[in-house]
C-alpha cells in the first residue's frame, strides 16, 4: 500500500498517493530500545524539538510561522510497541490545491528539515532553560495519570502483572529518569538518534510520489547507518503464579474500577494471532460481546465492561466500572464468560458479528492518513506487502473450535480493584 524507497542504508521513505484527503501528512519515526532511561530522555527530547529550533528561536516565533502556513500542524510524540520505543515527528499541511496562495507544501518540507537538523542550540548545547521546562512538562504528564482513574487502574494492573517489563514501562520513562537528564545527556541522545537510529519516513496525501521523494531527499540529509537490532528488554522479572493474585487499592473516589489480567502465549508473532483477536472480540471487544451483554445488559451492573488484547505482550485485560460492593459478583460473572468460551459456547451469530466488526474497524482505520501510516508501520515488520484484506481473510477462516482453543490458553493472573474509601466498614 505504501511505495518503498530506500534513501540510505537504514533510512527508508514510504509514500502513498491518494486524492481522498485535503491535506498531506508526514511522519518521521525513530526506533530504539525501550528502557526507562532511553524512554525518559527521548520523551524530553521530543518536547524540546517541538518547542523551537535554530530558525524559529522561540515557541511564539515557531507557532506564528505554523499559523501563517494555514495552520500547519507540527507535533512530536513518543510511543512503545513490544520492546521498541518510537519517537515520531508529525507534520500535516493543507494541500496547495485548496488554498488561494500556494507554496505551503514546500515550506512544510523545509520546516521538517529545520526541526530535525537545526535544533535550538546555545553554543554547543541545548538551552538549559528549555530543557528544564520540558523536563517538567514530561514529569507532569507522568504524574497526571493518577488523576484519570481508569488509566491509573490499568497501569497498576500491568505493574502488578509484569513488574519492570516492557508492558508496564511508560514511553515517558519515570519521574526519576526524567529528573536525571541534563542538556549534555540530551544532546548525546539527539546525536545518537539522528545518526544511528533506524529511520522511517512516511508521506500520505495527494502527492506526486517521485517529486516528493526528490524534495525530501534534498532536505532530510540522513547518513547511512547499520541496521539496528532492537534488544529484548533486559530487566524482565519472571513472575510465576499458580493462583490468581487479588489486589485492592483505595483512593477518594466513587466508582469501583475492576481490572483483570489474563496471560496468553499467543502474541502478534504467533501464527494464531488472528484467532486470538477473534476470541477477544467475542469475549469483550464490542457491544455484542459476552461481557457487554451479560455484565452490562443482563445484570445492569456496569456502564462499561470490555476486554482488550495487547497483542505485542500476550495479555488480555478486562475492565469494568462497578459498584465496589459487587466485586465478587462481577468477578464471577467475568469468569463465567471465560468458562463459556472455554466450553465452546460460541454461536455462529457471535462469530459473524465479530468478523464483521473487526473488518469494519481495520477498513475504517484506512480512511485516515494517520491511520494508514500507523497501521502499516506496525504490520510491515511482519509482512512488507501487508494489506487489510490479508487480515480479513484470516478472520474469516476462524472457527468456533479456534475460539475455544484460544480461550483455553487464557490464564487469569491478577484481579485488581481500585475503589473509594467510603463504605469500607467491612474491611
Amino acid at each position: 500500500m505504501f511505495t518503498k524507497n530506500r534513501l540510505e542504508q537504514g533510512v527508508t521513505l514510504y509514500t502513498r498517493k491518494s486524492n481522498q484527503f485535503k491535506t498531506v501528512n508526514f511522519s518521521v519515526k525513530w526506533k530504539n530500545n525501550l528502557d526507562v532511561k532511553t524512554a525518559a530522555t527521548r520523551a524530553v527530547l521530543a518536547k524540546v524539538l517541538e518547542d523551537s529550533n535554530g530558525m524559529f528561536r522561540t515557541q511564539t516565533e515557531l507557532r506564528n510561522k505554523l499559523d501563517e502556513l494555514y495552520g500547519t500542524i507540527m507535533y512530536t510524540s513518543v510511543a512503545k510497541r513490544g520492546d521498541t520505543h518510537i519517537l515520531s515527528l508529525n507534520v500535516e499541511c493543507v494541500n496547495d490545491e485548496y488554498l488561494s496562495d500556494g507554496g505551503v507544501l514546500d515550506e512544510a518540507i523545509e520546516l521538517l528539515g529545520t526541526v530535525i537538523f537545526n535544533p535550538n542550540l546555545e553554543g554547543d548545547n541545548f538551552k538549559p532553560e528549555i530543557v528544564e521546562r520540558e523536563k517538567k512538562s514530561v514529569r507532569e504528564r507522568i504524574r497526571s495519570q493518577y488523576d484519570n482513574k481508569t488509566s491509573y487502574a490499568q497501569q497498576r494492573l500491568l505493574e502488578i502483572l509484569r513488574p519492570n517489563s516492557p508492558i508496564s514501562t511508560s514511553s515517558d520513562g519515570t519521574e526519576e529518569a526524567v529528573a536525571a537528564i541534563t542538556p549534555e545527556t540530551l544532546l548525546a541522545a539527539y546525536k545518537s538518534m539522528i545518526e544511528e537510529d533506524t529511520v522511517d519516513i512516511y508521506v500520505a496525501g495527494d502527492i506526486d510520489e517521485t517529486e516528493i521523494a526528490e524534495k525530501l531527499k534534498a532536505v532530510l540529509s540522513f547518513g547511512a547507518r547499520p541496521a539496528r537490532k532492537i534488544e529484548t528488554f533486559k530487566t524482565t522479572e519472571k513472575v510465576n503464579r499458580t493462583e490468581p493474585e487479588h489486589v485492592r487499592e483505595k483512593q477518594d473516589m466513587k466508582q469501583g474500577k475492576l481490572h483483570l489480567g489474563f496471560s496468553t502465549p499467543i502474541t502478534i508473532h504467533h501464527p494464531d494471532y488472528t484467532k486470538m483477536q477473534m476470541m477477544n472480540g467475542v469475549f469483550g471487544g464490542f457491544a455484542h460481546s459476552k461481557l457487554f451483554m451479560n455484565v452490562r445488559e443482563k445484570e445492569s451492573m456496569a456502564y462499561y465492561a470490555s476486554s482488550s488484547y495487547a497483542s505485542h505482550y500476550g495479555l488480555v485485560s478486562v475492565m469494568a466500572g462497578i459498584d465496589a460492593e459487587l466485586e465478587d459478583k462481577a468477578v464471577s460473572l467475568i469468569k463465567e464468560q471465560v468458562l463459556a468460551l472455554q466450553n465452546g459456547e460460541v454461536t455462529d451469530l457471535e462469530l459473524d458479528q465479530t468478523k464483521a466488526l473487526l473488518t469494519n474497524s481495520i477498513t475504517s482505520t484506512f480512511d485516515s492518513a494517520r491511520g494508514q501510516i500507523e497501521v502499516y508501520d506496525q504490520f510491515k515488520e511482519l509482512d512488507e506487502d501487508f494489506t487489510a484484506d490479508y487480515l480479513i481473510s484470516k478472520w474469516d477462516a476462524v472457527t468456533k473450535e479456534d475460539v475455544k482453543k484460544m480461550a483455553m490458553d487464557l490464564q487469569l493472573e491478577v484481579v485488581y480493584l481500585l475503589s473509594g474509601k467510603e463504605g469500607d466498614s467491612n474491611e
Binding site: 484527503f21 491535506t23 495552520g71
Partner: protein, 433 residues
C-alpha cells in the same frame, strides 16, 4: 433533490426535505471506504420544559431524560439493536448533548441494510416499566464514572457557576435521584414531542451514491405514517447577564490543582449568518489572545502557570454561550491573575491588528480544510449548524470577509467582569487517608 457544488472545496452536497418533514443531506466523499450516517433530533438536555404534543399545559420532566431516552431507544421487544448492527458490520453509537440527540453508525459494507436498521429503530420506540427500571443501574454507573473524572467536574462546575436559571447548568445525564423518577410514560411523552421527522435531520457522508440513497430513504419513510408536523413549544427561563457565583472550589483526589476560567456570553439570541460571524469572530479573538502563538501563552508556559493540559474554547448555542480557559496549574491564583490581566488589557487597549487577523484567518481556513478529512466532523458539525440555521460550507467565505470590527463586537459580548467565573479542583487534604 437539490444539488450544490462547492468549487473551492471540491465537494457536492445533495439535499431534500421529505414530505413528512425529514431533512435529508448526502455528501459523497471520493476515496472513502467508510460511510458515516447520523439521525439527529433537535432535542437535548436543555429541553426540559415544554408543552407535550397534543396537550395544552406546560410540563417539566426529570433531569437526564433526553439521555435516558437515547439509551432506551436501543432496546426493543426482541432484543438489543447493537446486535443487529453488529451482524451487518455496522459500528453503532449515540450521544446526547445540550441541544441534540444523535444516533449513528459507520460501516464499510451493507450500507442500505445498516441504514434501514438506523431509520427503523429510531422511529419505533419500545419502553416498558421493566426495561426502564433495568436501565437505571447502567446509567447510575455512567453518572458515577463521570463523577470520578476531575476534568468533567471542572467543566461542569464552571458552567454551574455561570448560570442562574438556564438548564444548560444541569448535567446532561441528570443525577442518580432525578433518573430514578423517570417512567416509561415520560419517555413516550418526550419521544412523541421531539422525535417527529420535522424536528430531525438525516445525514449520510462517505462512500455513497446520492440518488440511490435518497430513493432508499424515501421508500422507507413512505411506508410509515406520521402525524402532521406541529410547532414544538419549548420554554426557557430568563437568564441574567451576570454569573451566579464568581468563584467555587471542589476538593478531589488529584495530584495538581486544576483551574477553569469562564466568560459568559451576552446577546446569545442569535442564529443564521449573524451567529456564524459571532462564533468565528469569537474563536479568532480567543486564538489571538490565548492561542499557542499568543504572548499570554508564551509567558504562562515560561512561568510554569500552565502545562500540556492547557486548553481554551468557545461554545455557543441559541440562548447560552461562553469562552473558557482551563489548565492544571501549580499556581492557579497567578494563572487567574494573568488571564484577568490579559482580558483587562484587551478591553482598554484593543491589541488585535490586521496582521493578527490575517494570520489567524489563515490558520482557521487550514484547520477547516483539515477537518473536512473527517466524515464524523462533517456530519456532526453540519447538523449542529443546520439546527442554528447556519451552513457549514459558508465557513471559509465568512472567514474571508471577517473584519476587526466583527472581532471587537464579538469580544464585547464576553469581556465584562460580571460574566467571569473561576472553578477550581484542588488536591484533597491527605491527613484522613
Amino acid at each position: 433533490m437539490n444539488k450544490v457544488h462547492f468549487d473551492n472545496l471540491q465537494e457536492t452536497l445533495y439535499n431534500e426535505k421529505l414530505e413528512n418533514g425529514l431533512d435529508v443531506y448526502i455528501l459523497p466523499k471520493r476515496g472513502f471506504s467508510k460511510t458515516y450516517v447520523t439521525f439527529t433530533t433537535k432535542y437535548g438536555s436543555i429541553d426540559r420544559t415544554f408543552i407535550p404534543l397534543g396537550k395544552n399545559e406546560e410540563v417539566t420532566v426529570p433531569d437526564g431524560i433526553a439521555h435516558f431516552l437515547e439509551h432506551k431507544l436501543f432496546e426493543k421487544e426482541d432484543g438489543d439493536v447493537f446486535q443487529e448492527f453488529s451482524v451487518l458490520g455496522g459500528s453503532a453509537n449515540a450521544f446526547t448533548s445540550f441541544t441534540r440527540t444523535s444516533y449513528l453508525f459507520s460501516a464499510t459494507d451493507k450500507l442500505y441494510e445498516n441504514t434501514e436498521v438506523l431509520l427503523d429503530f429510531v422511529q419505533d420506540p419500545y419502553f416498558t416499566k421493566e426495561t426502564v427500571e433495568k436501565e437505571k443501574g447502567i446509567i447510575g454507573q455512567e453518572i458515577t464514572m463521570y463523577d470520578d473524572q476531575p476534568d468533567w467536574r471542572l467543566y461542569f462546575g464552571m458552567i454551574e457557576n455561570m448560570y442562574h436559571e438556564h438548564p444548560v447548568k444541569i448535567d446532561i445525564a441528570g443525577t442518580i435521584e432525578t433518573i430514578d423518577e423517570i417512567t416509561a410514560e415520560h419517555l413516550y411523552e418526550c419521544y412523541e414531542t421531539f422525535y417527529h421527522p420535522s424536528n430531525m435531520v438525516f445525514f449520510v457522508v462517505g462512500a455513497v451514491d446520492p440518488e440511490e440513497m435518497m430513493k432508499f430513504i424515501k421508500e422507507n419513510q413512505n411506508k410509515k405514517s406520521f402525524s402532521p408536523a406541529e410547532e414544538i413549544k419549548r420554554s426557557f427561563p430568563e437568564e441574567p447577564d451576570s454569573v451566579v457565583q464568581p468563584e467555587r472550589t471542589l476538593s478531589m483526589d488529584v495530584t495538581k490543582p486544576k483551574l477553569s476560567f469562564g466568560m459568559k456570553c451576552t446577546k446569545t439570541d442569535v442564529s443564521g449568518e449573524e451567529m456564524l460571524i459571532r462564533e468565528l469572530a469569537s474563536e479568532l479573538v480567543m486564538d489571538v489572545l490565548f492561542g499557542r502563538s499568543s504572548d499570554f501563552y508564551a509567558n504562562a508556559y515560561k512561568d510554569d502557570l500552565i502545562d500540556e493540559s492547557y486548553s481554551y474554547s468557545f461554545m455557543m448555542e441559541n440562548g447560552f454561550g461562553f469562552s473558557m480557559i482551563s489548565s492544571d496549574s501549580e499556581n492557579p491564583e497567578d494563572l487567574e491573575k494573568a488571564i484577568r490581566a490579559t482580558l483587562r488589557e484587551a478591553t482598554t487597549n484593543w491589541p488585535i491588528t490586521d496582521e493578527d487577523l490575517d494570520r489567524q484567518r489563515k490558520r482557521k481556513i487550514g484547520q477547516f480544510m483539515r477537518s473536512l478529512n473527517s466524515i464524523e466532523f462533517i456530519a456532526n458539525q453540519f447538523t449542529r449548524y443546520l439546527f442554528n440555521d447556519m451552513k457549514l460550507f459558508d465557513v471559509v467565505p465568512v472567514l474571508e470577509k471577517l473584519t476587526l470590527e466583527d472581532l471587537k463586537n464579538a469580544f464585547s459580548t464576553f469581556n465584562d467582569e460580571s460574566g467571569f467565573t473561576v472553578y477550581k479542583v484542588l488536591p484533597a487534604e491527605k491527613e484522613n487517608a
